[in-house]
Amino acid sequence: MSAVTVFVPKDAAAVSVGADDVAVALSQEAQNRGIDINLIRNGSRGLLWLEPLVEIETPSGRVAFGPVSTSDISGLFDAGFLSGGDHDLGQGLTEDIPYLAKQERLTFARCGVIDPLDLTAYESHGGLVGLKKALELEPSAIVEDVTASGLRGRGGAGFPAGRKWETVRKESGDQKYICCNADEGDSGTFADRMLMEGDPFTLLEGMVIAGRAVGADTGYIYIRSEYPHAIRALNDAVSSFERANLLGKNILGSGQAFIIHIRIGAGAYICGEESSMLESLEGKRGQVRAKPPIPAISGLFGKPTVVNNVLTLATVPYVLANGGKTYSAYGQGKSRGTQPFQLAGDIARGGLVEKAFGVTLRELVEGFGGGTRSGRPVRTAQVGGPLGAYIPETAFDVDMDYESLAGSGAMLGHGGVVVFNESVDMARQARFAMEFCEIESCGKCTPCRIGSVRGKETLDKIIVGEDLEKNLAVLEDLCVLMTDGSLCAMGGLTPMPVTSALKHFPEDFGLARQAAE
């Protein structure tokens, strides 16, 4: 028998629940039994509740087993799992698991499928097609294709990527930059991390294409220090790309030059805000810059700069390879393409769900997510990170796209969905929003720096029922002030979780239900 190929993810989430130990135990057990296996450490498929998810390559496709722990290994061998034998942990063909089968994986097509650092596998799974096309196209034609795709920034603000690129492309000057925002600070989000660990070449390919499109020869990836696995993966991926002449002075002999530097953040949420990130990349305190000028005109070291999120850039190779029109066929309204949603918190089947815009929140939480992990009823979900709204379970039929969410007083942000059960105290969640803003404020403007402290203190009083009416008035006043008077969305959006909690769950603030509605 030739060696059976076995996949055990090395994604940080999988490793956090024992994937490394499982990989070691598996190799050991195979050796003990005199069986030859070919072990591949892939990225994660994003079915995180099944991690560590072990896959076996069989003639009919890859078969999944999970969640596997070291104590299951000998039983799996006994059951003949290497030839697809039956076992309690068996999940059938991976591609047929409904959670995965019902997704539209464009950006994450290769994530969890291949060895993330195997360039040959990358190419045989469609990698580099986009780049090779781009190297033949005029820069303006690349930008046009990205514009036609309708791709919008996945970092939170949803600004059309093509329009940003066009601004930078038209700027004169011989030094321009591509800065990839890999700060992913939002609680409940991990798609950037999964992609950087599971398919880092896609991100690099996207950056090279962006460089050609706007006339930039240097890129930076600003990645948060909390992601050691992703940092290692990126470093290795950049080295591979350099060796393969996919980065350097003359990429694939095209005359196009591009290099990528990796820079590590230092634990500041605000450094995900683009101008703060640029300050940090310049070695300074991560203080937000006043706009204008926008980074596209005066960004890193004062030069025209494209700042894009990991997912935005990692989607570009798909767009170039398949055409902007193909990508824009997914989605609805002004929200084109797919969004990698991330299901987190108290959820039975947490993980990554890449779907065309328009899937409902209910389908994500109940259909994909299977309700809570605890088994208690769902009460609310916070969508879009720490600055996003709390949406009550009764309003889960909302479509997940930029406009529909905005229409119901919420926002998509980076696509995180954090589920809470009935035991959540919404006044405490509101307090946390203010506290988080206090901890992470860059301190540049008063509404945010002082407002968050006052907001937290006021909520403390509300929580113990002190002068309720008066303090609620103070809180609402503060929220208006922060929304209207803050320099950036940190202070400007912190009121969103606070006011949504208050609006939908007045009883948690000591109010009668109708009174606030």
């Binding site: 940080a12 989430a13 490793v15 956090s16 629940v17 995180l48 509740w49 991690e51 992913e184 600070g185 939002d186 609680s187 409940g188 989000t189 991990f190 991390r193 220090s225 909390e226 992601y227 050691p228 696995h229 820079r263 590590i264 953040g265 230092a266 634990g267 500041a268 949420y269 940090s280 990349l281 310049e282 070695g283 300074k284 305190r285 991560g286 203080q287 070291f301 991330q342 299901l343 987190a344 918190g345 108290d346 959820i347 947490g350 993980g351 992990r373 605890s374 916070q382 720490p386 995180g416 954090v418 589920v419 809470f420 059960n421 959540v424 969640q429 946390f432 988080f436 901890i439 992470e440």
Partner: protein, 155 residues
């Protein structure tokens, strides 16, 4: 006073980074990786090497949560206190940790054995509560699991 040796080490880190002020964060990371924290002497040395004022270097070192001005405990336990982990009980885990390790959140135990620190999201939000111990990420951490992880890390 700092030993000349350490002074040389800081100087070397700066030179490795081209003694360029825009590499200040990387220099701070590297010096902290070497010494465990950023001493007053190190900051002074860095300022000289990068041609920055001490105020500028201090300003950067104090802005970012990662940089330490005092030595950490032998074992550093970071517990995620952000929303997705709140939804699965990180508050109870935090209280358990503070009691079991006899350390308040954000401090180092008096015997210097362990530092207990908050962190806001480790990107493991579907498998919370998430904890990082000496740089190693763990998921679905119950109080019992925390105890065994900490004792393994510190033994």
């Amino acid at each position: 006073m700092q030993e000349p040796d350490e002074k040389r080490a800081v100087l070397k880190v700066c030179q490795d980074h081209g003694s360029r002020p825009e590499n200040l964060l990387e220099v701070l990371h590297a010096v902290q990786a070497h010494d465990g924290y950023l001493s007053d002497d190190s900051l002074r040395e860095i300022a000289t090497c990068l041609n920055l004022t001490r105020a500028e270097v201090h300003g950067v070192a104090s802005f970012y949560h990662d940089f330490r001005r005092v030595p950490p405990g032998k074992t550093v336990v970071k517990i995620c206190l952000a929303e997705a982990c709140q939804a699965v009980g990180c508050d109870a885990l935090k209280e358990h940790a503070a009691q079991a390790l006899s350390t308040d959140m954000g401090t180092t135990s008096s015997d210097g054995e362990v530092s207990l620190e908050p962190v806001y999201c480790l990107g493991n939000c579907a498998l919370g509560p998430a904890v990082m111990i000496n740089g190693v990420l763990h998921g679905r951490v119950t109080p019992e699991k925390l105890d065994s992880l900490v004792s393994r890390a510190s033994s």
